[in-house]
Amino acid sequence: MALPSSPAARRYVTRLSVSMGAYMVTLIGGAHLFNNGMVSGPLLWLLALLPGLSLVGAFYAIGMFIIEQKDEFLRMLLVRQSLFATAFALSVASVWGFLQEFGLVPNVELYYVAILWFFGLGLGAGFNKLTLGSAGWCW
């Protein structure tokens, strides 16, 4: 993969790397401590919050990339990608939620919506490529 060319892209890669690094550490570390019964009370709350907050950092990185992107065409591609991802994640979550309500599909943890959203970004890039001839930023 080529190195990011613009300062905005470099900042995005840095922010996303920090967020995903924090996510991995807090998820693995938190699961280890929890599974071994090593934490309880307020510390358990903090431990449970950290992986989710790390993902918030990833959303922040993407939002800031949209704001800081100077190239108007690439910025539009990013916005379309994000809208596509949002529509995809909310649509799947809505349909799955009602199927689940009627007992037709298994229960899925809510944090999978975030994973769906990131998957939707990839689909959004494909949508951009098909409709505008350019995928934009490859996440």
Binding site: K70, D71, E72, F73, L74, M76, L132, G133, S134, G136
Partner: protein, 63 residues
């Protein structure tokens, strides 16, 4: 919106990347504008017009 960007660029023997560098935008932006897939903002349209030394309406044409 139609435009004459590709012709104007070819007359000057500029590559898409060279034009993108002069306009301080990405090559994808130049390609999207040339192929009519993206209409530039008014500030970018003015930058393009200034670069070619032409009025905007001689570069961008009504459909």
């Amino acid at each position: 919106m139609k435009n004459r960007l590709r012709v104007l660029r070819a007359e000057r023997e500029w590559s898409q990347q060279a034009l993108a560098d002069k306009l301080e935008v990405s090559r994808q932006s130049v390609n999207a504008i040339e192929t009519g897939k993206y209409d530039p903002s008014l500030p970018l349209a003015f930058r393009i017009a200034d670069l070619f030394g032409l009025p905007i309406e001689e570069i961008f044409l009504r459909d």
